[in-house]
Subunit: 107 residues, 2 copies
């Protein structure tokens, strides 16, 4: 991942509503959700939500698939994992145990 890609992804996540949308989609990965459901869950007006979903999609953090008259949005897990790797790259000059004692994001 390049610096600019990472900045784009981080900027997409650095907004309260978008972060909530993304985390909801992470929770509902890999099935995904429709804007209708997302908006209902988070109490967001449709235009606002549409704007935020577009931003997340442009950053590569979610993908959209048309399903009849619905659109299914999904969290792009490889993307977020790539971002995470980028953030901790060469951590402590390679001496990992110095800064990530457990070394695992899932603990």
């Amino acid at each position: 991942m390049e610096n600019k890609d990472a900045v784009n992804a981080l900027a997409a996540l650095a907004q309260e509503s978008r972060l909530a949308v993304f985390r909801l989609l992470v929770r509902f990965a890999p099935e995904g959700l429709t804007p209708g459901v997302i908006g209902e869950q988070l109490g967001l007006p449709a235009p606002t939500l549409s704007f935020h979903l577009k931003t997340l999609a442009q950053a590569g953090l979610v993908t959209a698939v048309q399903e009849g008259r619905f659109v299914r949005y999904r969290a792009e897990m490889p993307r977020i994992n790539g971002l995470i790797a980028f953030l901790t790259e060469d951590c402590c000059g390679g001496n990992l145990q110095l800064c990530t004692p457990k070394g695992n994001i899932n603990e």
Copy 2:
């Protein structure tokens, strides 16, 4: 970590110069670096760098310690690890292998 804290941290990282500063400090963790060295490495004017370091510090991503007439900045690794955990919390409804095949940020 709360949503607002996460947004603060993400916003701090969502800027090209600041992301570069943070990653440099991650690489040089846990010793840290002074603004002089950072500015030289990244080609940033002192006032700009000072502004960005302050922003990173306010977000809890770096800490500053006075050392004589230098200030030593360090990446706050527990903070970034907390942010990473927050981003992937309840991923796939707990079915981790679905979205993080390797499950480890360091691979």
